[in-house]
Amino acid sequence: MLGFNDYLLVSVILFFVGALGVLFRRNLIYILMSLELMLNSINLTLIGLAKYSNDTNPQVLILLILVVAAVEVAVGLGLAINLMRVKKTVDVDLFKSLKG
């Protein structure tokens, strides 16, 4: 029987993979894509939660996450284009101007 725990297990693994991407890639585009992976693993958890608690609320949350993801990509890609223009690279480890 498929249960909430299965959803949780899968989404934990996917989240882990996404986080690996963020940690191990230097390319800003890759990091953005990995973030999308992480967000989607959350979506997966939420749909599992919705299914197993018979609840509408997680679905609303999924919609809101979609919005956040869209905005994040739009702004992130805008930044990427800009950084490429200014610094000629998208390697995040080279962006350290905000050092305290």
Partner: protein, 162 residues
């Protein structure tokens, strides 16, 4: 049902790994697209057709196209591996391992079984719409403002002169 779910999950995992270990950014983007489709399938399995299609429309129709666009625009080609293999990354792995362990430990203890059940599961667009425009009106409006801010920011960032 469980088998189907896990087969789909396996595909999700493969595509996710394809994203993070890809060498060609465009291929990675496509891998991400396929990953999204598998997640949409998960939504269908859970009975939420509406969210599944919205997932495809937003991610496939919007986000991946944008990413592919930027990849082309920036001229990112197949490159030598750019992995960031440092102490920091491995610390991260260890921390994440602890995190995953925590979740699995929680699963083992089944602390998450105790979710109260509502009597009736509404996955229709109308049901979600009702919730969105009544109980979640404020988050909805905040999300709309967030979108607006995103539009403005993206516009400013992408302009020729900053």
């Amino acid at each position: 049902m469980k088998t189907v779910f896990y087969i789909n999950a396996l595909f999700s995992l493969i595509f996710a790994l394809g994203v993070i270990f890809g060498k060609n950014p465009l291929r990675s983007a496509l891998s991400l697209l396929l990953f999204f489709l598998t997640i949409a399938l998960d939504f269908f399995f859970a009975g939420s057709e509406y969210l599944g299609f919205v997932q495809i429309i937003v991610y496939a129709g919007g986000i991946i196209v944008m990413i592919a666009f930027v990849i082309i625009l920036l001229g990112l080609k197949k490159e030598s591996p750019d992995y960031d293999i440092t102490v920091r990354s491995f610390t991260g792995i260890i921390l994440l391992g602890f995190f995953a362990l925590g979740v699995l430990y929680g699963l083992a203890k089944s602390v998450l079984h105790l979710i109260p059940k509502a009597p009736y599961f509404d996955t229709s667009a109308a049901g979600i719409g009702d919730a969105l425009f009544s109980k979640y009106l404020l988050p909805f409006e905040v999300a709309s403002i967030l979108l607006l801010v995103g539009v403005v920011l993206a516009f400013i960032f992408a302009k020729k002169e900053v």
